[in-house]
Subunit: 344 residues, 2 copies
DNA sequence: CGGAGTCAATGAATCGGTTCATTTATGCTT
DNA sequence: AAGCATAAATGAACCGATTCATTGACTCCG
């Protein structure tokens, strides 16, 4: 025999079938809107279900069907305010389609990413959308290629034939940098995240492209990478402004790090706009409402979330779609008062 | 017969058993760290699993065990930056304990809340943490009392014997209001969220308690409730400041609405600090870095997330714990430059 | 009127682990 | 050496819904 955890005796298809005087197969067909059920029987079964308070066991369905109607989303840190928008929209699209969202944080560690992919497999998750800490990581790539379910990359470089949704960070950073160069700045410091990942890499490319377009060379000592949090940004800003030859403009390209930078400037008594020009790599209430308002790069994270979910759904449906589709949402530069002509 | 979706032929316990030359029961016991397996056999089985690349099917485990190792979190809108902190910490604690987080947004609608509770049941979710749009809603209460799994309320009033984690909004609001009254303000406007839910109700209570403590009556025309977004806050602020007798201080008690309020004031050319004192109901980068910095109420959402997950885990474990536990995290008032003496 | 063809409904087999009554092996005691 | 106790391993039954070969009922047509 076998009596697992003292299960509160639940109603099953068998009970419904008995109550309605039909076979279990018929109940199942009613549940799944199978056409070959007479209206009369369908109603009888539905009445029985209502009467008994029946709820199908998705667990059993999943096991039999080999799919779970779960979609996993794993991002490096969902403590990034604007990412919430992405998740919110993705969840809405997925739920509309009958899927439930699993959420996990990778903490930007390859080993966690691999462990999560395994956990998702074990759960028979039907699709995954995720960020990666490092697109080149061998083990992560191996784990991705072994994944039995479709995986969509969030704002990451192309890997094999995986679908991806990205923002045009390169264009945004180029715009921002050109804007500052156009204002006469020559010593522009850049705070950027982890260069192993696409967004930071693209931003740096855009930055360099703008310099190249102007026919000048950026000072490599003014670049700070691996700025992943507000605290990092604080320290990076402080160190930059303490240089013998400090920058005249700051491009705070990493996401959600503007606060740390502004805190450092305030502590050092440097006025934004006058003492130094500032451009933020992502827009926020803070950027908009700061005094002076901060020039910022903006893009539509909600749209990214919707597109990611939609593309993943299409892929899961197994439609005949070309593999490795990429969708890029545009970035724009919102010019505000924090970026001013260099008064050499 | 039956051949469901063309399942990529996966390795099963049976295959592992054959490879290792043992019975399936033994493989299962190895998987579950059952003590009664000799070291030798355990190693043989583990080698076979590694060799075949075996991964257990959590779906099948769940079905047999009647539990899924899933915990659901449903909040009204996870587009609230500070809530991300809650989810982040809760997820970390849950994953540590071997659970996976399901996420859904209720959009603050009772029907969605009820539908989600049903969906969670069908998935055999082991525990739920959620907010409610209205603690008094009959159908929601019925759905909660019928839920077969433990439910923990996030920042909501006591319902039956459900566990709950709350912040002391009443104390925070009282502090904030007393602070303004102490500065000589008598016409304090309050922007608050949905009074059907605990946080807003508590804040209003705190507000009134402070007034009562000072022996005066608040002007009811200065109260704006149902302020649920930044856009609402914009409109509410604009309408308040257009009154014949406008307020001299604004208590923006609703979460994540400070931006809208400040935008309105800026549009109307009213200076924070000089023209009007402002206190925010929740702290943020914006509050800290605005000019002038905004006095704000702060509390530890990360701790709330950790506690929520921990309490729910204890409850799920079925320990003999008193029912209806409540944990309240304290609030504090961070006084900054936006609240100044009333210069009548 | 009989046989072919439709259409509904049936229920046993199945998905992949887990459990437990049973069997087999081992150790200990006298 | 026999008897008993203990421990390890076995494998059939089971969790609950789905599927499909089969049965039964009914229609249509020559």
């Amino acid at each position: 025999m076998s009596s697992p955890a003292p299960r509160s005796q639940t109603v099953k298809v068998k009970d419904v079938a008995r109550e309605a005087g039909v076979a279990v197969g018929t109940v199942s067909r009613v549940l799944n809107d199978h056409p070959a059920v007479t209206r009369e029987l369908r109603e009888r079964v539905e009445r029985a279900m209502a009467h008994l308070g029946y709820e199908v066991d998705v667990t059993a369905q999943s096991m039999r069907a080999g799919r779970s109607r779960l979609v996993a989303c794993a991002i490096r840190d969902f403590d990034i305010p604007r990412f919430a928008l992405f998740i919110k929209e993705a969840e809405a699209v997925l739920r509309e389609a009958g899927y439930t969202l699993l959420l996990a944080s990778t903490t930007n560690r390859p080993d966690v990413e691999i462990a999560l992919l395994r956990a998702f497999r074990r759960r028979r998750v039907d699709g995954v959308m995720m960020t990666l800490s490092d697109e080149q990581h061998r083990d992560v790539r191996a784990a991705l290629s072994e994944a039995p379910m479709p995986v969509l990359l969030i704002d990451r470089d192309r890997i094999d034939a995986l679908d991806r949704v990205t923002a045009d960070h390169r264009a945004g950073a180029r715009l921002a940098t050109s804007h500052l160069l156009g204002l006469g700045h020559r010593r522009i410091a850049m705070l950027v995240g982890d260069l192993k990942a696409f967004p930071s890499r693209s931003r740096l490319e855009g930055f360099r492209a703008a310099y190249a377009g102007a026919g000048i060379e950026p000072d490599p000592r003014l670049l700070r990478d691996d700025v992943l949090s507000s605290e990092h940004a604080y320290r990076a800003t402080a160190s930059l402004m303490s240089l013998a030859e400090p920058p005249t403009a700051l491009f705070v390209a990493a996401m959600d790090t503007l606060g740390g930078c502004l805190r450092a400037l305030r502590t050092m008594g440097i006025l934004v706009g006058d003492g130094i020009s500032v451009v933020a790599g992502s827009d926020s209430d803070l950027a908009e409402l700061y005094t002076p308002p901060i020039t910022a790069i903006a893009w539509d994270l909600a749209a990214m979330g919707r597109h990611a979910a939609t593309m993943l759904l299409e892929r899961m449906r197994g439609d005949e779609i070309e593999r490795g589709r990429g969708l890029t949402v545009p970035t724009e530069l919102i010019i505000r008062g924090s970026s001013r002509p260099f008064a050499g």
